[in-house]
Protein backbone atom coordinates (compact mmCIF):
# COMPACT_ATOMS: atom_id res chain seq x y z
CA UNK A 1 0.00 0.00 0.00
CA UNK A 2 1.10 3.58 -0.64
CA UNK A 3 2.21 5.72 2.28
CA UNK A 4 -0.72 7.66 3.66
CA UNK A 5 -1.00 11.17 2.26
CA UNK A 6 -1.34 14.06 4.68
CA UNK A 7 -2.35 17.65 4.26
CA UNK A 8 -0.37 20.67 5.33
CA UNK A 9 -0.62 24.40 4.72
CA UNK A 10 2.04 26.44 2.98
CA UNK A 11 2.41 30.05 1.90
CA UNK A 12 5.04 32.71 1.33
CA UNK A 13 6.10 34.89 4.23
CA UNK A 14 4.69 38.37 3.81
CA UNK A 15 7.78 40.43 4.55
CA UNK A 16 10.29 38.55 2.41
CA UNK A 17 8.37 35.98 0.37
CA UNK A 18 10.19 33.00 1.89
CA UNK A 19 8.42 29.65 1.70
CA UNK A 20 6.79 28.86 5.05
CA UNK A 21 4.64 26.11 6.52
CA UNK A 22 1.93 26.37 9.10
CA UNK A 23 3.02 24.83 12.42
CA UNK A 24 0.55 26.10 15.02
CA UNK A 25 -1.59 29.14 15.77
CA UNK A 26 0.34 32.17 14.49
CA UNK A 27 3.52 30.14 13.92
CA UNK A 28 4.87 29.53 10.43
CA UNK A 29 8.13 27.71 9.93
CA UNK A 30 10.54 27.64 6.97
CA UNK A 31 11.17 23.92 7.62
CA UNK A 32 8.62 21.64 6.03
CA UNK A 33 9.58 18.91 8.51
CA UNK A 34 8.14 21.11 11.26
CA UNK A 35 4.84 21.66 9.47
CA UNK A 36 1.66 20.44 11.07
CA UNK A 37 0.26 17.46 9.19
CA UNK A 38 -3.34 16.38 9.32
CA UNK A 39 -5.36 13.70 7.66
CA UNK A 40 -7.09 14.44 4.42
CA UNK A 41 -10.48 14.94 6.06
CA UNK A 42 -9.12 17.59 8.46
CA UNK A 43 -7.52 19.66 5.71
CA UNK A 44 -10.21 22.31 5.48
CA UNK A 45 -10.16 22.87 9.23
CA UNK A 46 -6.37 23.20 9.18
CA UNK A 47 -6.52 25.77 6.40
CA UNK A 48 -9.13 27.75 8.33
CA UNK A 49 -6.95 27.68 11.42
CA UNK A 50 -3.91 28.79 9.41
CA UNK A 51 -5.86 31.69 7.94
CA UNK A 52 -7.16 32.93 11.29
CA UNK A 53 -5.66 35.78 13.25
CA UNK A 54 -5.49 39.56 12.97
CA UNK A 55 -3.91 41.29 9.97
CA UNK A 56 -1.26 41.38 8.72
CA UNK A 57 -1.34 37.70 8.11
CA UNK A 58 2.25 36.41 8.25
CA UNK A 59 1.87 34.28 5.12
CA UNK A 60 0.62 35.21 1.67
CA UNK A 61 -1.54 32.79 -0.27
CA UNK A 62 -1.99 30.00 2.29
CA UNK A 63 -2.84 26.78 0.47
CA UNK A 64 -3.30 23.12 1.31
CA UNK A 65 -0.86 20.69 -0.22
CA UNK A 66 -0.30 16.93 -0.09
CA UNK A 67 2.71 15.34 1.55
CA UNK A 68 3.88 12.02 2.91
CA UNK A 69 6.10 11.18 5.87
CA UNK A 70 9.47 9.60 5.32
CA UNK A 71 10.87 8.90 8.78
CA UNK A 72 11.34 12.32 10.41
CA UNK A 73 11.05 14.03 7.09
CA UNK A 74 8.04 15.39 5.30
CA UNK A 75 8.04 15.04 1.54
CA UNK A 76 5.57 17.01 -0.58
CA UNK A 77 3.72 15.16 -3.28
CA UNK A 78 4.37 17.36 -6.28
CA UNK A 79 7.61 18.42 -7.92
CA UNK A 80 6.55 22.03 -7.62
CA UNK A 81 6.21 21.72 -3.85
CA UNK A 82 9.45 19.75 -3.60
CA UNK A 83 11.21 22.62 -5.36
CA UNK A 84 9.50 25.14 -3.09
CA UNK A 85 10.61 23.14 -0.06
CA UNK A 86 14.25 22.74 -1.02
CA UNK A 87 14.96 25.52 -3.48
CA UNK A 88 15.88 25.61 -7.18
CA UNK A 89 17.36 22.39 -8.54
CA UNK A 90 20.04 24.35 -10.36
CA UNK A 91 23.07 26.07 -8.92
CA UNK A 92 22.88 29.79 -9.31
CA UNK A 93 25.61 32.30 -9.61
CA UNK A 94 27.39 33.73 -6.61
CA UNK A 95 28.40 37.38 -6.54
Amino acid sequence: MDDPTFKLVTGNRLRDGAVVYFASAGIWTPRIDDARLVEEKDGAALLAEAQAGPPPHPAVGPALIDAVRDGDRVVPATLREKIRASGPTVAYRAA
Binding site: L14, G17, P56, V90, R93, A95
Partner: protein
Amino acid sequence: MYRYDEFDRKFLAERVAQYRDQVRRRLAGQLSEDEFRSLRLMNGLYLQLHAYMLRISIPYGTLSSAQLRGLAEVARRWDKGYGHFTTRQNIQFNWIKLEETPDILAHLAAVQLHGIQTSGNSFRNITTDPFAGVAGDEIEDPRPYCEIVRQWAALHPEFSFLPRKFKIAINAADADRAAVKIHDLGLYLRRSDRGEIGFAVTVGGGLGRTPILAQTVRDFVPRRELLAYISACLRVYNQYGRRDNLFKSRIKILVQALGIEKMRQEVEDEYAAMGDEREALALPDEAVAAMQAQFAPPAYADAAGDDAELAQAAASEPDFARWIERNTRPHKQAGHASVVISLKPVGRPTGDCSASQMRTVADLADELSFGEVRVTHDQNLVLPHVRKSALYDLWLRLGAGDLATPNIGLASDIIACPGLDYCGLATARSIPVAQALAVHLAGREAAIGPLQIKISGCINACGHHHVGHIGILGLEKNGAESYQITVGGSDGEQAALGGIIGPAVAAHEITATVDRLIDAYLRLRRDGEQFPDTYRRVGLAPFKEALYVAR
Protein backbone atom coordinates in the same frame (compact mmCIF):
# COMPACT_ATOMS: atom_id res chain seq x y z
CA MET B 1 21.01 57.62 -24.76
CA TYR B 2 17.80 59.19 -23.65
CA ARG B 3 18.22 61.23 -20.46
CA TYR B 4 15.34 61.81 -18.11
CA ASP B 5 14.09 65.34 -17.87
CA GLU B 6 12.83 67.05 -14.72
CA PHE B 7 9.30 65.73 -15.26
CA ASP B 8 10.47 62.10 -15.57
CA ARG B 9 12.60 62.40 -12.43
CA LYS B 10 9.83 63.97 -10.40
CA PHE B 11 7.29 61.43 -11.58
CA LEU B 12 9.51 58.53 -10.60
CA ALA B 13 10.35 60.01 -7.20
CA GLU B 14 6.65 60.44 -6.46
CA ARG B 15 5.94 56.95 -7.60
CA VAL B 16 8.57 55.50 -5.26
CA ALA B 17 7.24 57.55 -2.34
CA GLN B 18 3.70 56.33 -3.02
CA TYR B 19 4.91 52.77 -3.22
CA ARG B 20 6.89 53.10 0.01
CA ASP B 21 3.70 54.12 1.74
CA GLN B 22 1.78 51.23 0.21
CA VAL B 23 4.37 48.73 1.41
CA ARG B 24 4.28 50.27 4.88
CA ARG B 25 0.51 49.88 5.00
CA ARG B 26 0.71 46.32 3.70
CA LEU B 27 3.25 45.32 6.35
CA ALA B 28 1.16 47.03 9.02
CA GLY B 29 -1.89 45.04 7.98
CA GLN B 30 -3.83 48.01 6.63
CA LEU B 31 -3.86 46.57 3.13
CA SER B 32 -4.80 42.97 2.39
CA GLU B 33 -2.97 40.95 -0.24
CA ASP B 34 -5.95 41.34 -2.53
CA GLU B 35 -5.70 45.10 -2.22
CA PHE B 36 -1.94 45.20 -2.44
CA ARG B 37 -1.29 42.72 -5.28
CA SER B 38 -2.10 45.08 -8.11
CA LEU B 39 -0.13 47.88 -6.44
CA ARG B 40 3.04 45.80 -6.22
CA LEU B 41 2.56 44.41 -9.72
CA MET B 42 2.30 47.95 -11.05
CA ASN B 43 5.84 48.36 -9.80
CA GLY B 44 7.10 45.09 -11.23
CA LEU B 45 6.95 43.03 -8.03
CA TYR B 46 5.67 39.47 -8.49
CA LEU B 47 5.45 36.67 -5.95
CA GLN B 48 7.13 33.51 -7.26
CA LEU B 49 7.88 30.11 -5.78
CA HIS B 50 10.66 31.05 -3.35
CA ALA B 51 10.41 34.80 -2.90
CA TYR B 52 9.23 38.01 -4.46
CA MET B 53 10.59 38.65 -7.93
CA LEU B 54 11.32 42.14 -9.19
CA ARG B 55 11.17 42.74 -12.92
CA ILE B 56 12.95 45.84 -14.10
CA SER B 57 12.22 47.26 -17.50
CA ILE B 58 15.20 47.99 -19.73
CA PRO B 59 13.69 50.22 -22.41
CA TYR B 60 14.51 48.76 -25.83
CA GLY B 61 17.35 46.84 -24.23
CA THR B 62 19.67 49.83 -23.94
CA LEU B 63 21.60 50.29 -20.69
CA SER B 64 24.21 52.80 -19.64
CA SER B 65 27.17 51.57 -17.63
CA ALA B 66 25.76 53.50 -14.65
CA GLN B 67 22.47 51.64 -14.97
CA LEU B 68 24.22 48.30 -15.18
CA ARG B 69 26.16 49.19 -12.04
CA GLY B 70 22.84 50.09 -10.41
CA LEU B 71 21.52 46.63 -11.29
CA ALA B 72 24.74 45.03 -9.99
CA GLU B 73 24.19 46.79 -6.69
CA VAL B 74 20.63 45.45 -6.45
CA ALA B 75 21.97 41.94 -7.09
CA ARG B 76 24.71 42.30 -4.50
CA ARG B 77 22.86 44.11 -1.78
CA TRP B 78 19.28 42.93 -2.01
CA ASP B 79 19.38 39.64 -3.91
CA LYS B 80 21.60 36.56 -3.87
CA GLY B 81 24.24 38.16 -6.02
CA TYR B 82 22.80 37.71 -9.50
CA GLY B 83 20.06 38.71 -11.89
CA HIS B 84 18.40 37.02 -14.84
CA PHE B 85 18.10 38.69 -18.25
CA THR B 86 14.91 37.75 -20.07
CA THR B 87 13.63 37.38 -23.62
CA ARG B 88 11.85 40.70 -23.14
CA GLN B 89 15.22 42.49 -22.82
CA ASN B 90 14.38 43.00 -19.14
CA ILE B 91 16.07 41.82 -15.97
CA GLN B 92 14.52 39.88 -13.10
CA PHE B 93 15.77 39.50 -9.55
CA ASN B 94 14.62 36.27 -7.98
CA TRP B 95 15.21 36.69 -4.26
CA ILE B 96 13.65 39.98 -3.29
CA LYS B 97 12.24 40.85 0.11
CA LEU B 98 9.07 42.93 0.10
CA GLU B 99 10.23 45.06 3.00
CA GLU B 100 13.33 46.12 1.02
CA THR B 101 11.61 46.92 -2.26
CA PRO B 102 11.03 50.64 -1.62
CA ASP B 103 14.78 51.11 -1.10
CA ILE B 104 15.54 49.06 -4.19
CA LEU B 105 13.18 51.13 -6.32
CA ALA B 106 14.61 54.37 -4.94
CA HIS B 107 18.09 53.12 -5.77
CA LEU B 108 17.04 52.23 -9.31
CA ALA B 109 15.18 55.50 -9.84
CA ALA B 110 18.49 57.29 -9.31
CA VAL B 111 19.74 55.59 -12.49
CA GLN B 112 16.48 56.03 -14.43
CA LEU B 113 15.23 52.48 -14.01
CA HIS B 114 11.95 51.13 -12.67
CA GLY B 115 9.52 48.25 -12.84
CA ILE B 116 6.50 50.22 -14.00
CA GLN B 117 4.47 48.55 -16.75
CA THR B 118 6.30 45.26 -16.47
CA SER B 119 3.02 43.57 -15.57
CA GLY B 120 -0.70 44.00 -16.02
CA ASN B 121 -2.81 44.88 -19.01
CA SER B 122 -0.60 47.70 -20.17
CA PHE B 123 2.05 48.44 -22.75
CA ARG B 124 5.11 46.41 -21.86
CA ASN B 125 8.73 47.15 -22.57
CA ILE B 126 9.21 48.16 -26.19
CA THR B 127 11.86 45.96 -27.72
CA THR B 128 14.19 46.35 -30.66
CA ASP B 129 17.32 45.20 -32.45
CA PRO B 130 20.22 44.94 -29.97
CA PHE B 131 22.46 46.31 -32.75
CA ALA B 132 20.32 49.41 -33.21
CA GLY B 133 22.37 52.42 -34.24
CA VAL B 134 25.40 50.35 -35.24
CA ALA B 135 24.21 47.69 -37.71
CA GLY B 136 25.29 48.18 -41.29
CA ASP B 137 21.97 46.98 -42.72
CA GLU B 138 19.88 49.49 -40.83
CA ILE B 139 17.94 52.33 -42.46
CA GLU B 140 17.94 54.51 -39.34
CA ASP B 141 18.47 54.00 -35.64
CA PRO B 142 15.11 52.68 -34.34
CA ARG B 143 15.70 53.81 -30.74
CA PRO B 144 14.46 57.40 -31.13
CA TYR B 145 11.18 55.91 -32.34
CA CYS B 146 11.17 53.40 -29.51
CA GLU B 147 11.54 56.27 -27.06
CA ILE B 148 8.86 58.35 -28.79
CA VAL B 149 6.45 55.42 -28.64
CA ARG B 150 7.50 54.66 -25.06
CA GLN B 151 6.70 58.20 -23.96
CA TRP B 152 3.39 58.12 -25.79
CA ALA B 153 2.50 54.76 -24.25
CA ALA B 154 3.70 55.45 -20.71
CA LEU B 155 0.64 55.62 -18.49
CA HIS B 156 -1.51 56.55 -21.47
CA PRO B 157 -4.90 57.36 -19.91
CA GLU B 158 -7.03 55.91 -22.69
CA PHE B 159 -4.99 52.71 -22.91
CA SER B 160 -4.31 52.00 -19.25
CA PHE B 161 -6.97 49.29 -19.13
CA LEU B 162 -6.45 47.31 -22.27
CA PRO B 163 -8.07 43.89 -22.53
CA ARG B 164 -4.63 42.38 -21.97
CA LYS B 165 -0.91 43.15 -22.03
CA PHE B 166 0.46 44.73 -25.16
CA LYS B 167 3.94 44.27 -26.60
CA ILE B 168 5.45 46.47 -29.29
CA ALA B 169 8.66 45.77 -31.20
CA ILE B 170 10.45 47.99 -33.70
CA ASN B 171 13.00 46.87 -36.28
CA ALA B 172 14.83 49.19 -38.62
CA ALA B 173 17.16 46.90 -40.55
CA ASP B 174 16.83 44.47 -43.44
CA ALA B 175 17.21 41.57 -41.05
CA ASP B 176 14.57 41.33 -38.35
CA ARG B 177 16.54 41.01 -35.13
CA ALA B 178 13.65 42.05 -32.91
CA ALA B 179 11.34 39.07 -33.49
CA VAL B 180 8.73 41.60 -34.60
CA LYS B 181 6.21 39.03 -35.79
CA ILE B 182 5.61 37.59 -32.35
CA HIS B 183 4.52 40.96 -30.97
CA ASP B 184 1.05 42.42 -30.55
CA LEU B 185 2.09 45.36 -32.68
CA GLY B 186 5.18 45.54 -34.82
CA LEU B 187 6.85 48.37 -36.69
CA TYR B 188 9.28 47.82 -39.55
CA LEU B 189 11.00 51.06 -40.38
CA ARG B 190 11.03 51.63 -44.14
CA ARG B 191 12.20 54.25 -46.60
CA SER B 192 9.74 54.86 -49.42
CA ASP B 193 10.69 55.24 -53.08
CA ARG B 194 10.54 58.98 -52.51
CA GLY B 195 13.00 58.78 -49.64
CA GLU B 196 10.39 59.30 -46.98
CA ILE B 197 10.76 57.47 -43.64
CA GLY B 198 7.79 55.52 -42.35
CA PHE B 199 6.74 52.16 -40.98
CA ALA B 200 5.08 48.97 -42.05
CA VAL B 201 2.69 48.16 -39.23
CA THR B 202 1.91 44.60 -38.19
CA VAL B 203 -0.63 43.40 -35.66
CA GLY B 204 -1.71 40.24 -33.97
CA GLY B 205 1.50 38.36 -33.24
CA GLY B 206 1.99 36.43 -30.04
CA LEU B 207 2.98 33.04 -28.67
CA GLY B 208 1.51 31.42 -25.57
CA ARG B 209 -1.42 29.03 -25.73
CA THR B 210 -2.40 30.14 -29.23
CA PRO B 211 0.72 31.04 -31.20
CA ILE B 212 0.04 33.31 -34.15
CA LEU B 213 2.37 35.37 -36.33
CA ALA B 214 1.59 39.01 -36.94
CA GLN B 215 0.16 40.22 -40.23
CA THR B 216 0.61 43.52 -41.97
CA VAL B 217 -2.16 46.00 -41.41
CA ARG B 218 -0.57 48.80 -43.46
CA ASP B 219 2.54 48.70 -45.65
CA PHE B 220 3.62 52.25 -45.09
CA VAL B 221 2.63 54.80 -42.49
CA PRO B 222 4.65 58.02 -42.82
CA ARG B 223 6.51 58.65 -39.61
CA ARG B 224 4.64 61.88 -39.04
CA GLU B 225 1.47 59.79 -38.65
CA LEU B 226 3.02 57.05 -36.55
CA LEU B 227 1.40 57.82 -33.20
CA ALA B 228 -1.98 58.61 -34.70
CA TYR B 229 -2.00 55.39 -36.66
CA ILE B 230 -1.03 53.14 -33.80
CA SER B 231 -3.63 54.94 -31.69
CA ALA B 232 -6.20 53.81 -34.22
CA CYS B 233 -4.93 50.21 -33.93
CA LEU B 234 -5.12 50.39 -30.16
CA ARG B 235 -8.62 51.85 -30.25
CA VAL B 236 -9.89 48.99 -32.35
CA TYR B 237 -8.31 46.54 -29.91
CA ASN B 238 -9.51 48.43 -26.85
CA GLN B 239 -13.04 48.41 -28.18
CA TYR B 240 -13.32 44.90 -29.63
CA GLY B 241 -10.67 42.92 -27.76
CA ARG B 242 -12.28 40.32 -25.51
CA ARG B 243 -12.41 41.03 -21.82
CA ASP B 244 -14.59 38.04 -20.93
CA ASN B 245 -11.98 35.35 -21.48
CA LEU B 246 -8.37 35.70 -20.43
CA PHE B 247 -7.23 33.21 -23.04
CA LYS B 248 -8.89 35.14 -25.84
CA SER B 249 -8.00 38.65 -24.78
CA ARG B 250 -4.85 39.34 -26.78
CA ILE B 251 -5.06 41.28 -30.02
CA LYS B 252 -3.95 38.17 -31.95
CA ILE B 253 -7.29 36.52 -31.15
CA LEU B 254 -9.16 39.59 -32.34
CA VAL B 255 -7.20 39.64 -35.59
CA GLN B 256 -7.80 35.93 -36.01
CA ALA B 257 -11.53 36.33 -35.37
CA LEU B 258 -11.96 39.31 -37.70
CA GLY B 259 -9.46 38.25 -40.34
CA ILE B 260 -6.77 40.68 -41.41
CA GLU B 261 -8.94 42.27 -44.10
CA LYS B 262 -11.64 43.23 -41.65
CA MET B 263 -9.09 44.28 -39.05
CA ARG B 264 -7.45 46.54 -41.63
CA GLN B 265 -10.81 48.03 -42.50
CA GLU B 266 -11.62 48.67 -38.83
CA VAL B 267 -8.27 50.35 -38.26
CA GLU B 268 -8.55 52.46 -41.39
CA ASP B 269 -12.10 53.51 -40.49
CA GLU B 270 -11.00 54.43 -37.01
CA TYR B 271 -8.04 56.30 -38.41
CA ALA B 272 -10.22 58.23 -40.84
CA ALA B 273 -12.65 59.09 -38.05
CA MET B 274 -9.89 60.57 -35.90
CA GLY B 275 -9.99 63.81 -37.88
CA ASP B 276 -8.29 66.66 -36.03
CA GLU B 277 -6.92 64.32 -33.46
CA ARG B 278 -4.52 63.06 -36.06
CA GLU B 279 -2.98 66.47 -36.27
CA ALA B 280 -2.70 66.67 -32.50
CA LEU B 281 -0.77 63.41 -32.50
CA ALA B 282 1.36 64.27 -35.52
CA LEU B 283 5.06 63.80 -35.11
CA PRO B 284 6.78 66.89 -36.52
CA ASP B 285 10.25 66.50 -38.05
CA GLU B 286 11.68 68.76 -35.37
CA ALA B 287 10.44 66.46 -32.60
CA VAL B 288 12.01 63.47 -34.29
CA ALA B 289 15.24 65.37 -34.83
CA ALA B 290 15.33 66.40 -31.17
CA MET B 291 14.88 62.80 -30.12
CA GLN B 292 17.47 61.61 -32.60
CA ALA B 293 19.93 64.04 -31.06
CA GLN B 294 19.57 62.12 -27.79
CA PHE B 295 20.78 59.02 -29.58
CA ALA B 296 23.54 60.68 -31.58
CA PRO B 297 26.42 58.33 -32.33
CA PRO B 298 29.44 58.69 -30.04
CA ALA B 299 32.64 60.35 -31.19
CA TYR B 300 34.35 57.38 -32.77
CA ALA B 301 38.09 57.39 -33.12
CA ASP B 302 39.64 57.09 -36.55
CA ALA B 303 40.27 53.38 -36.43
CA ALA B 304 40.80 52.58 -40.09
CA GLY B 305 44.10 50.86 -39.32
CA ASP B 306 42.59 48.50 -36.75
CA ASP B 307 41.61 45.77 -39.16
CA ALA B 308 45.16 44.75 -39.92
CA GLU B 309 46.05 44.65 -36.25
CA LEU B 310 43.03 42.48 -35.50
CA ALA B 311 43.78 40.09 -38.34
CA GLN B 312 47.27 39.62 -36.98
CA ALA B 313 46.09 38.89 -33.43
CA ALA B 314 43.47 36.45 -34.71
CA ALA B 315 45.99 34.63 -36.90
CA SER B 316 48.23 33.85 -33.95
CA GLU B 317 45.53 32.73 -31.52
CA PRO B 318 42.84 30.30 -32.75
CA ASP B 319 40.66 30.62 -29.62
CA PHE B 320 40.54 34.36 -30.07
CA ALA B 321 39.79 33.93 -33.77
CA ARG B 322 36.91 31.64 -32.91
CA TRP B 323 35.47 34.16 -30.47
CA ILE B 324 35.82 36.94 -33.06
CA GLU B 325 34.00 34.83 -35.59
CA ARG B 326 31.16 33.84 -33.26
CA ASN B 327 30.76 36.78 -30.90
CA THR B 328 31.39 39.93 -32.90
CA ARG B 329 29.16 41.64 -35.41
CA PRO B 330 29.95 44.26 -38.06
CA HIS B 331 29.68 47.92 -37.14
CA LYS B 332 28.80 50.87 -39.37
CA GLN B 333 31.94 52.64 -38.34
CA ALA B 334 35.22 51.54 -39.92
CA GLY B 335 37.58 49.75 -37.53
CA HIS B 336 34.82 49.01 -34.98
CA ALA B 337 32.75 45.97 -34.05
CA SER B 338 29.84 45.08 -31.78
CA VAL B 339 30.64 42.39 -29.27
CA VAL B 340 28.12 39.89 -27.99
CA ILE B 341 28.86 38.79 -24.45
CA SER B 342 27.59 35.29 -23.91
CA LEU B 343 25.54 34.75 -20.77
CA LYS B 344 25.49 31.07 -21.69
CA PRO B 345 28.68 29.57 -20.36
CA VAL B 346 28.13 25.90 -21.13
CA GLY B 347 26.35 24.18 -18.27
CA ARG B 348 25.35 27.34 -16.39
CA PRO B 349 21.84 28.78 -16.09
CA THR B 350 21.03 30.74 -19.24
CA GLY B 351 20.79 34.50 -18.95
CA ASP B 352 22.03 34.70 -15.38
CA CYS B 353 24.63 37.35 -14.62
CA SER B 354 26.34 37.89 -11.30
CA ALA B 355 26.85 41.27 -9.66
CA SER B 356 30.57 41.15 -10.29
CA GLN B 357 30.03 40.23 -13.93
CA MET B 358 27.67 43.18 -14.29
CA ARG B 359 30.31 45.44 -12.82
CA THR B 360 32.96 43.97 -15.13
CA VAL B 361 30.76 44.62 -18.16
CA ALA B 362 29.97 48.15 -16.94
CA ASP B 363 33.68 48.92 -16.52
CA LEU B 364 34.51 47.50 -19.93
CA ALA B 365 31.66 49.51 -21.44
CA ASP B 366 33.08 52.69 -19.96
CA GLU B 367 36.54 51.94 -21.15
CA LEU B 368 35.83 50.47 -24.57
CA SER B 369 32.22 51.08 -25.65
CA PHE B 370 31.31 54.65 -24.78
CA GLY B 371 29.53 53.50 -21.64
CA GLU B 372 26.83 51.63 -23.58
CA VAL B 373 25.48 48.12 -23.13
CA ARG B 374 22.60 46.31 -24.82
CA VAL B 375 20.49 43.41 -23.70
CA THR B 376 19.42 40.93 -26.41
CA HIS B 377 16.21 38.95 -26.53
CA ASP B 378 18.42 35.88 -26.67
CA GLN B 379 19.47 36.67 -23.10
CA ASN B 380 22.97 37.91 -23.90
CA LEU B 381 24.62 41.32 -23.57
CA VAL B 382 26.23 43.50 -26.24
CA LEU B 383 28.99 46.07 -26.12
CA PRO B 384 27.92 47.98 -29.20
CA HIS B 385 30.97 50.02 -30.14
CA VAL B 386 34.38 48.49 -29.63
CA ARG B 387 37.49 49.45 -31.59
CA LYS B 388 38.93 46.42 -33.28
CA SER B 389 42.34 47.10 -31.81
CA ALA B 390 40.79 46.71 -28.34
CA LEU B 391 39.15 43.35 -29.02
CA TYR B 392 42.04 41.19 -27.90
CA ASP B 393 42.32 42.89 -24.55
CA LEU B 394 38.54 42.80 -24.19
CA TRP B 395 38.46 39.07 -24.95
CA LEU B 396 41.05 38.35 -22.26
CA ARG B 397 39.21 40.39 -19.67
CA LEU B 398 35.82 38.93 -20.51
CA GLY B 399 37.34 35.49 -20.31
CA ALA B 400 38.58 36.18 -16.79
CA GLY B 401 34.96 36.84 -15.82
CA ASP B 402 33.59 33.72 -17.56
CA LEU B 403 32.01 36.00 -20.14
CA ALA B 404 33.79 34.94 -23.31
CA THR B 405 32.11 31.68 -24.29
CA PRO B 406 32.34 31.66 -28.11
CA ASN B 407 28.89 30.24 -28.73
CA ILE B 408 26.64 33.04 -29.99
CA GLY B 409 23.99 31.62 -32.29
CA LEU B 410 25.19 28.05 -31.78
CA ALA B 411 23.54 25.07 -30.14
CA SER B 412 24.65 25.93 -26.61
CA ASP B 413 23.38 29.53 -26.90
CA ILE B 414 20.00 28.33 -25.68
CA ILE B 415 17.08 30.52 -24.65
CA ALA B 416 15.36 29.22 -21.54
CA CYS B 417 12.81 30.80 -19.26
CA PRO B 418 13.13 30.38 -15.46
CA GLY B 419 10.69 27.46 -15.50
CA LEU B 420 9.72 25.44 -12.47
CA ASP B 421 12.92 26.26 -10.60
CA TYR B 422 11.53 29.75 -9.96
CA CYS B 423 8.30 30.51 -11.75
CA GLY B 424 4.93 30.16 -10.09
CA LEU B 425 3.19 29.43 -13.38
CA ALA B 426 5.56 26.74 -14.60
CA THR B 427 4.58 23.16 -15.35
CA ALA B 428 8.14 21.86 -15.79
CA ARG B 429 11.74 22.92 -15.42
CA SER B 430 13.59 24.59 -18.28
CA ILE B 431 17.01 25.58 -16.93
CA PRO B 432 18.28 22.05 -16.23
CA VAL B 433 17.09 20.97 -19.68
CA ALA B 434 19.06 23.81 -21.23
CA GLN B 435 22.11 23.00 -19.17
CA ALA B 436 22.10 19.32 -20.10
CA LEU B 437 21.57 20.08 -23.80
CA ALA B 438 24.32 22.70 -23.85
CA VAL B 439 26.80 20.33 -22.25
CA HIS B 440 25.80 17.56 -24.58
CA LEU B 441 25.88 19.60 -27.79
CA ALA B 442 28.81 21.94 -27.18
CA GLY B 443 31.33 19.47 -28.57
CA ARG B 444 29.72 19.38 -32.00
CA GLU B 445 28.11 22.78 -32.20
CA ALA B 446 30.73 24.14 -34.57
CA ALA B 447 29.93 21.36 -37.04
CA ILE B 448 26.19 21.95 -36.64
CA GLY B 449 26.46 25.68 -37.30
CA PRO B 450 23.79 28.22 -36.36
CA LEU B 451 21.04 26.59 -34.32
CA GLN B 452 18.49 28.14 -32.00
CA ILE B 453 17.09 25.98 -29.24
CA LYS B 454 14.38 27.65 -27.17
CA ILE B 455 12.79 26.27 -24.04
CA SER B 456 9.70 27.32 -22.08
CA GLY B 457 8.53 25.90 -18.76
CA CYS B 458 4.86 26.27 -19.61
CA ILE B 459 2.41 27.17 -22.31
CA ASN B 460 2.98 30.90 -21.70
CA ALA B 461 6.03 30.55 -23.93
CA CYS B 462 8.33 33.13 -22.35
CA GLY B 463 11.18 31.04 -23.78
CA HIS B 464 9.74 31.53 -27.31
CA HIS B 465 9.82 27.79 -27.98
CA HIS B 466 7.40 28.03 -30.92
CA VAL B 467 9.94 30.04 -32.90
CA GLY B 468 13.00 27.99 -31.96
CA HIS B 469 14.66 25.96 -34.70
CA ILE B 470 14.16 23.32 -32.07
CA GLY B 471 11.55 24.27 -29.49
CA ILE B 472 10.95 22.56 -26.20
CA LEU B 473 7.86 23.08 -24.10
CA GLY B 474 7.77 21.73 -20.57
CA LEU B 475 4.46 20.19 -19.54
CA GLU B 476 3.19 18.14 -16.66
CA LYS B 477 1.76 14.71 -17.36
CA ASN B 478 0.49 12.57 -14.48
CA GLY B 479 2.66 14.45 -12.04
CA ALA B 480 5.86 14.12 -14.06
CA GLU B 481 7.64 16.59 -16.30
CA SER B 482 7.23 15.88 -19.98
CA TYR B 483 8.43 17.87 -22.95
CA GLN B 484 6.81 18.61 -26.26
CA ILE B 485 9.30 19.20 -29.02
CA THR B 486 8.83 21.27 -32.17
CA VAL B 487 11.10 21.87 -35.14
CA GLY B 488 11.37 24.48 -37.85
CA GLY B 489 10.35 27.61 -36.00
CA SER B 490 12.15 30.90 -36.56
CA ASP B 491 11.70 34.47 -35.42
CA GLY B 492 13.34 36.49 -38.19
CA GLU B 493 11.98 38.09 -41.38
CA GLN B 494 10.62 34.72 -42.45
CA ALA B 495 9.20 33.92 -39.04
CA ALA B 496 7.55 30.53 -38.72
CA LEU B 497 5.99 28.46 -35.98
CA GLY B 498 7.57 25.10 -35.38
CA GLY B 499 5.76 21.82 -36.05
CA ILE B 500 5.22 19.27 -33.30
CA ILE B 501 7.30 16.15 -33.96
CA GLY B 502 5.27 13.67 -31.94
CA PRO B 503 4.16 12.78 -28.44
CA ALA B 504 5.86 14.58 -25.56
CA VAL B 505 8.97 12.91 -24.16
CA ALA B 506 10.28 12.46 -20.62
CA ALA B 507 13.11 14.67 -19.37
CA HIS B 508 15.71 11.90 -19.76
CA GLU B 509 14.73 11.37 -23.40
CA ILE B 510 15.28 14.96 -24.52
CA THR B 511 18.97 14.76 -25.33
CA ALA B 512 18.60 11.65 -27.48
CA THR B 513 15.56 13.10 -29.24
CA VAL B 514 17.30 16.38 -30.01
CA ASP B 515 20.36 14.47 -31.22
CA ARG B 516 18.24 12.56 -33.72
CA LEU B 517 16.59 15.74 -34.94
CA ILE B 518 19.95 17.38 -35.42
CA ASP B 519 21.32 14.29 -37.18
CA ALA B 520 18.32 14.36 -39.50
CA TYR B 521 18.91 18.04 -40.19
CA LEU B 522 22.59 17.49 -40.96
CA ARG B 523 21.65 14.70 -43.36
CA LEU B 524 18.96 16.74 -45.06
CA ARG B 525 20.48 20.16 -45.29
CA ARG B 526 21.96 21.47 -48.50
CA ASP B 527 24.90 23.82 -48.81
CA GLY B 528 24.23 27.21 -47.32
CA GLU B 529 21.02 26.19 -45.60
CA GLN B 530 20.20 26.84 -41.98
CA PHE B 531 17.67 24.83 -40.02
CA PRO B 532 14.59 26.89 -40.99
CA ASP B 533 15.59 26.77 -44.67
CA THR B 534 15.86 22.99 -44.62
CA TYR B 535 12.59 22.71 -42.75
CA ARG B 536 10.82 24.94 -45.23
CA ARG B 537 12.07 22.74 -48.05
CA VAL B 538 11.47 19.28 -46.59
CA GLY B 539 8.67 19.83 -44.08
CA LEU B 540 7.97 17.99 -40.88
CA ALA B 541 7.77 14.42 -42.18
CA PRO B 542 11.49 13.54 -42.41
CA PHE B 543 12.00 14.76 -38.84
CA LYS B 544 9.11 12.71 -37.57
CA GLU B 545 10.44 9.75 -39.47
CA ALA B 546 13.89 10.14 -37.93
CA LEU B 547 12.34 9.71 -34.51
CA TYR B 548 9.96 6.99 -35.57
CA VAL B 549 12.69 4.88 -37.12
CA ALA B 550 14.78 5.29 -33.98
CA ARG B 551 11.95 4.05 -31.82
